[in-house]
Amino acid sequence: MAKVTMIEAINRAHAWEMAHDPSVIVLGEDVGVNGGVFRATAGLQEQFGKDRVQDTPLAEGMIAGMAVGMATQGLKPVAEIQFMGFIYPALDQIGNHMVRMRNRTRGRLTCPLVVRMPHGGGIHAPEHHSESLEAILAHHAGLRVVCPSSPARAYGLLLAAIRDPDPVIFLEPARLYRLVKQEITDDGCALPLDVCYRLREGSDVTLVTWGAMVTETLSAAEILANEGVSCEVLDLATLSPIDHETILESVVKTGRLVVVHEAPRNCGIGAEIAATVAERALYDLHAPIKRVTGYDTIIPLSRLEHDYIPDAARITDAVRETLTE
């Protein structure tokens, strides 16, 4: 047992799996000697050598494509993309090859790999370093998209992602990397993918969120609790495929739904959740579904980023509106 930050938890998950599975290979820009710009892979090259922890040339499409090639040979690459704004050159490999390999070869070749990257804003980073592009990735069939919101879930979900026989995108909320420490047991126990995590039980309204927005949403739930409003908070955790059953079960109980995400509203994952609840539980709703999201703008540079990113105030407003409908 040790208290660790999310970045340390991610580091330990790598180390555990590399020590127990020789087919796990880490690759990316600056992941070796430097241990990653956020230090997610710190110390791994010293421990496991340069073949297994590789500093690559600087080309994201190349990193993703190499990972595909290595995975078809039975290795389990864990590739780091330095910031989510740099994922675009890798989309060709992700969309045209990674997610299709098993399907188009009828299972002859597969891609058991993880592509990790920081996700979201709030760390005063330069342009192209604060994107929340999960919806683009979640739209691809054949891909899992995972986003932890605590050190323990980062540890357990990353282990699950590496062990999964199919490609997984692992989005790490940069804002949470060092925000809190949490006790984790470094025992190699994975957490389940494809399920929501119920972080707070409640009876008046269901709040569904993920990543850095979990912190804001839990704060909002606490504020609302003081007003006598009982919020149920679900951490979506696996953004694709969505665990609709848990969400529906909660909404049937509470009759109200607010979805919170940092990514822009238009065609966001919140729309998918809202649409599914509308399709399958409309008559259980006491009020219209609300979304609290980033605006449909480019995420601004640091001076305005906190005006863009949803906070507890916007979330409490939305919840209060659903209660007065």
Partner: protein, 367 residues
């Protein structure tokens, strides 16, 4: 100013267009059994190609990318490889694939619109790569896996002349050079990327010289000379197996066909250029050489053509008799562990397809 680096690009040819052998040819040039085997596969690829186009024209095959004119390159490359090497093709290297054990019925199945065609006999080879150049990185990644494991295997990756304009082409040769990967990259320069001639694609005099930017050896070879292609690839593979890193090979050939069956090259190509290219075509050249060695004659040619036609016909029969895949197949190979929502959609597709096949077009009744 002083010169800090200088480079040159070599060109390899052993058989000229008339089938005359140049001095210094490798032992392969006198290995008649091997040459006959290569000639047989080249003839088989051409026979298959003509049949595939015919199937497309009669509505029995989808859009198909002909390999006409590329046979020496395709067979030469495959013949240089070991069975446990890995091939990453583009989408017209059928001669290579047939040599490596891929059934012609599998090729037809894929181009006939059925993914089961990619579940072919060369178990570790990649399926066709349609998006252009992205296969360069798969070849590099495979070679990285081989290197990490200390294996003596290599990857061989094809790319077209147009593909060399893509960023992934350079990314592939660059990382392969930077990590001394056991990889061979073969550019099939057939002079045309659909309608765009090589002169519009790049200002470089050769495509082989693009290797210089990646710090790896680049060599040009006559892609219509099966002996030169096989020899050049064998040398590159030997180098890779020694741990000396990758090679970029530019095979100069000509696309004697349209780009695909959906293309009409007469819109953009001078017929005199095509007629001239036919005088340099690869089968004629190897046949002329074999005749000079008294290893070939018209009777044997006719017998081979009949044999290839029979083999192709058998493959066509196998392809045409393959039952339509189940709608479940759309869903069942996406994930090892399919999510619940996908299983629900699979059940929905089953119900809908059953109705569709029963003739229900949306009226709720059967027509």
């Amino acid at each position: 100013m002083k010169t800090v680096a200088a480079f040159e690009i070599k060109y390899c040819q052993f058989l000229d267009a008339e089938g005359n052998l140049a001095p210094g040819a490798p032992a392969l040039a006198s290995d008649i059994a091997e040459l006959l085997k290569m000639y047989r596969f080249m003839t088989l690829a051409r026979t298959f190609d003509a049949k595939a186009i015919n199937l497309q024209r009669t509505g029995k095959l989808g859009t198909y990318a002909s390999c006409l004119g590329h046979e020496a390159t395709h067979v030469g490359v495959a013949a240089a490889m070991q069975p446990d090497d890995v091939l990453a093709p583009v989408y017209r290297e059928f001669g290579s694939q047939i040599w490596r054990g891929v059934k012609m019925s599998s090729i037809l199945l894929y181009w006939g619109g059925d993914e089961r065609g990619n579940d072919f006999a060369a178990r570790q080879d990649f399926a066709w790569c349609v998006p252009i150049a992205s296969q360069m990185l798969h070849g590099a990644g495979v070679a990285m896996a081989m290197k990490i494991r200390g294996e003596k295997r290599c990857s061989v990756t094809y790319i077209g002349d147009g593909g060399t304009s893509e960023g992934a082409f350079y990314e592939g040769i660059n990382v392969a050079g930077a990590r001394a990967l056991p990889a061979v990259f073969v550019i099939v320069n057939n002079r045309w990327a659909i309608s765009v001639p090589i002169e519009s694609q790049t200002a470089t005099r050769t495509l082989a010289q693009k290797a210089i930017a990646a710090g790896i050896p680049g060599i040009q070879v006559d892609g219509n000379d099966a002996i030169a292609v096989r020899h050049t690839v064998e040398e590159a593979l030997a180098r890779a197996r020694r741990g000396d890193g990758p090679t970029l090979i530019e095979a100069l050939t000509y696309r004697l066909s349209d780009h695909t069956t959906a293309d009409d090259a007469s819109r953009y190509r001078d017929p005199t250029e095509v007629a001239e290219a036919w005088t340099r075509e690869p089968l004629l050249r190897l046949r002329s050489y074999l005749k000079k060695l008294n290893a070939w004659d018209e009777a044997r040619e006719e017998a081979l053509k009949s044999e290839c036609a029979r083999e192709v016909e058998a493959a066509v029969d196998e392809y045409l008799s393959a039952p339509k895949p189940s709608t479940d197949d759309m869903f069942d190979y996406l994930f090892a562990r399919p999510p619940r929502s996908l299983l629900e959609q699979r059940a929905q597709a089953r119900r809908h397809s059953a109705r569709r096949r029963a003739g229900d077009r949306g009226t709720g009744s059967r027509s």
